[in-house]
Symmetry: C2
Subunit: 213 residues, 2 copies
């Protein structure tokens, strides 16, 4: 897979949406998909989709449509979904449990090794196949097992210290649900900050627009 340098964050953020849709087509047994069809479904322009794919050497003939299987494999390769990365989750409250029980980590490229919490009531329990360990074992565990990333579902007040500690012990990426913005520049590793509020405010805007029409 040829890859151009300096692919923009905007392009990278569209790749999972492409992959989600195209892997659904694959599951339905579809063989080919046009950039026009992709564009309609994803609310983009066909030209933008072609440009995005060209960042990675394109994916075959445009007029004839894309081969679904090859496109899917190409996106898996680009995103690194087939590299068997590993993750630990810290904070087994309601959100942590929701992720452990219902979220398919493997489909997003990660094997979840285990979870950590300070609450004696949950330590030793299993949620979605992951055992909860005492958070006092977190840093020794990370040093020994070297998980690629940590999922942060702890209260926001402890997020910055925990993030720094995890990075110091070798974690190489953070999936951050704490509501505190953690930044790459401060930590030296990539962070994805999940802000539920952003999508709700976007919805608020749209509901307003309809009222105003």
């Amino acid at each position: 897979m040829e890859k151009k340098q300096n692919v923009s964050r905007a392009v990278i953020q569209r790749l999972p949406r492409y992959y989600r849709y195209i892997s659904a087509l694959r599951a339905q047994g579809e063989q080919r998909v046009s950039s026009r069809k992709l564009a309609e479904t994803l609310g983009l322009t066909a030209s933008q989709i072609r440009q995005d794919f060209n960042c990675f050497g394109g994916f075959g003939q445009q007029g004839y449509g894309y081969n679904v299987e090859k496109l899917c494999e190409g996106l898996e390769e680009i995103l690194g979904l087939n590299r068997r990365h590993t993750a630990v989750l810290v904070g087994v409250g309601n959100l942590g449990r929701a992720l452990l029980k219902n979220f398919n980590f493997e489909a997003s490229g990660f094997k979840l090794l285990c979870a950590f919490d300070a609450d004696k009531m949950v330590i030793g329990h299993e949620f979605g196949g992951a055992t909860v360990r005492d958070v006092s074992e977190l840093y020794p565990y990370v040093s020994e097992h070297k998980p690629d990333i940590a999922v942060l579902t702890v209260p926001h007040s402890i997020a910055p210290d925990l993030a720094r500690g995890l990075v110091q012990h070798g974690v190489r990426g953070l999936w951050n649900f704490t509501g505190v913005d953690l930044h790459l520049d401060n930590l030296g590793v990539p962070v994805e900050n999940v802000h539920f509020s952003d999508s709700l405010m976007t919805l608020c805007y749209q509901v307003n627009q309809i009222e105003a029409e």
Copy 2:
């Protein structure tokens, strides 16, 4: 507030990030902020930020920086955060509870009226100040109280039918955590589909890139 027509979805999706950052500046007592500073913090270009703001008539003098208070109020107005929209939540499992207990709906423009579930063990209980009602009362409640939006934290298998039912009973927007893509065209109301997997795949890509360097 002057508003140009047909503001693109990409611009709209950036507004909550602007608002989040600028309201944090306001809370810290900052009076002015330059587009350069905004750009650095948010990982955008200063020119993109000025273009985005120009969709809404701009927000004052560029060279001198933006007035934080006015910018904040302008964004609240544009997003409709001050319109006292209302919401109900359907599905009080772990994710539903996490939202009820920890998510600040009012800061994103919504008053949460109550929640609904089918489980007799949670009906009548309160989470984060919201009472859980029997889901059999959902449609009569929606018809009577006319909540603007519904938050869907139910299993994905029941999401499409539930979404249609809610829209038929007058709900005007959906905040959808079920993992099933629900589309505006099918439903006739705006939907924000929250896909946790998108940000985790984006993180996977970034972790991979660092390995490849």
